[in-house]
Symmetry: C2
Subunit: 349 residues, 2 copies
């Protein structure tokens, strides 16, 4: 076994269904790792609602620095109704994304023929959203005055920089160029958010000259939601800001097999820090601990992790196993572990 | 004819398909007006792309003050690719909404049985979005530094006040209370936009005590888009901020018969200035002037106008005419004027 086949993995199971789906993702990862001569050394981090209740901590800096030393991060889900909204999201999940400079939040959408879509005629859906991950309205740059009084004012500031927009736009162009259709759609709202929107538009127009074979399109975010339900097959690569990307990728998941299948990678393309892989779905506290969650999104996120670590064959093995599993789904209920077992067995085989 | 049956109407046909659909809306308005003993005195305002190209003006203050003197405003569509994105939207459409304090942007969604939905099983869709119209990320409170350089930074500030949130939330509760299902769903993103999101959430919780018979629900905006395609029938009244409302209402239109049917009212509930009625769709410059646009959304917006002016019988007459027309649609192409003629004839009959 050559040295570069040993990887360290920070695992953050998190809240709700996070631990259950993470267990299955790791199971599948182990199954393919053995086949592809890879070893993962895993360290689990106890972060999330329980930890916060016990200690008041979300993600201490020292722990973040430990996590940073790993080759990649696998995350389950973050958020619990027992914790004030925003505390864990901002203090844990977004702290990881921002500090580790995950500027490419990669979210592929694909319709598997055998999986039902709520759309009557979805067509051949296969696109990827490149969501900016370190700027926009997610920066936490807001505030409130006179809270709780009739004179309260609350602001949220969307921060957008040429530095931040250009790097994610260039990444999206490169991804579009590597795909058969070579099409990039910028989604923003530049007829209203003129300062940020024009920065995005100008940047896409400028970077486009470096990728003359990529066709470029622009849609307002409201129009983009229309096309996602009337003609989702038109999309190839979408590049968009942090908040619009959040909204569009949940909608994209819904039209293409549901949130149970949607994987994501929070990628640091410059590899100055580990990238983080997580299902798009949330912690779903209502079904947590009941083996009802579909671990497929977490398992597909593990495939994105392998891809990022330069193990495309192992990634393909997981994807093929998932695809085969999906094709044979009968609608009969299986437990989270049963789905994980079935996919692990196929992936190892 | 009693004095209160005479109304003044400011008409802003605007750009693209705006003039065509406005012509049909006025045709239908005239048809029912005659039947219901109402007279409209109309003044047309030449605003939009042509005017801007000719004079550089979007909406001069003096003209805005003239418009303000009317009982209501009917608007077609605003925006043209020959004008830099944002100039007409901010300088004309949003200037009207903000200056005339249209804080309730009312957008009903209904599936007519005979109209196709892109959803396989939409169910019984009948909800209304109360979109805040005078705050949020639409305030134009942003800026940019070092534009066009690699050090550019662009910000957009979402401004939210207790004053602004409470009045629209109270309006939404009252609407929910008046509907059979009495259900209100707040849509925001309070796990990330914690300052604005918590103001909205606290306000809904507080106002809820005045409406004990209204059931209250909260959804993050990303989750709301999922439900809009998997279970839109769950919604009754949605209250949300300006930007989320923009996005959700285009999606809502798409799932329920398309943007050709979606009407809206920009309402000033305190009647300190005239309210404004317009289709949700844009100016669609690609089909402008070709009699290809469906005027139904503009016509249904005229019905909302009648409702607002205290003429519910006339409003119902238009809605019934539209419903009957929709039920008999065969898919054969009709011109904009043919659709308007057919609906006007029914509405008058
Ligand atoms: C949990 C939440 C903070 C997060 C986000 O808004 O980014 C989630 O919705 C997602 O899409 O990963
Ligand atoms: C044209 C544009 C400024 C407008 C908006 O964003 O409000 C439109 O999309 C709408 O929904 O009425």
């Amino acid at each position: 076994m050559s040295e570069n086949k040993f990887f360290t993995l920070a695992v953050v199971p998190g809240d709700g269904i996070g631990p259950e789906v993470t267990t299955e993702a790791l199971k599948v990862l182990d199954a393919v790792a053995a086949q592809h001569g890879v070893t993962f050394e895993r360290t689990e981090y106890d972060l999330g609602a329980k930890r916060w209740h016990a200690t008041g901590e979300t993600l201490p800096d020292a722990e973040l620095e430990e996590i940073r030393k790993h080759d990649a991060i696998l995350l389950g889900a973050v958020g619990d109704p027992s914790v004030p909204s925003g505390v864990l999201e901002r203090g844990l999940l977004l702290k990881l994304r921002f500090t580790l400079d995950h500027y490419v939040n990669l979210r592929p959408s694909k319709i598997y023929p055998s999986v039902g879509s709520p759309l009557a005629n979805p067509g051949d859906v296969d696109f990827v959203v490149v969501r900016e991950g370190t700027e926009g309205p997610y920066v936490g740059n807001g505030g409130a005055l006179r809270v709780g009084t009739p004179a309260e004012i609350a602001t949220e500031v969307s921060v957008n920089t040429a530095y931040g927009v250009e790097r994610v736009v260039r990444d999206a162009f490169a991804r579009a160029q590597a795909r058969p259709r070579k099409k990039l759609t910028l989604v923003h709202k530049n007829n209203v958010l003129v300062y940020a929107g024009h920065l995005w538009k100008r940047t896409v127009d400028a970077v486009a000259s470096e990728f003359p074979d990529v066709a470029v399109d622009y849609l307002h975010v409201d129009a983009a939601t229309i096309f996602l339900v009337t003609d989702p097959a038109r999309f190839d690569v979408i590049v968009t800001d942090n908040l619009f990307g959040d909204i569009l990728t949940d909608l994209a998941a819904a039209i293409s097999g549901g949130i149970g299948l949607a994987a994501s990678g929070n990628i640091n393309p410059d590899r100055t820090a580990p990238s983080m892989f997580e299902p798009v779905h949330g912690s779903a506290p209502d079904i947590a601990g009941q083996q009802k969650a579909d671990p497929t999104a977490a398992i597909l996120s593990a495939a994105l992790l392998l891809e990022h670590l330069g193990l495309p064959a192992a990634a393909r093995a997981i994807e093929a196993a998932v695809e085969a599993d999906i094709e044979e789904r009968t609608g009969a209920a299986r437990s989270t572990a049963e789905i994980g077992d079935a996919i692990a067995k196929r992936a190892a085989g």
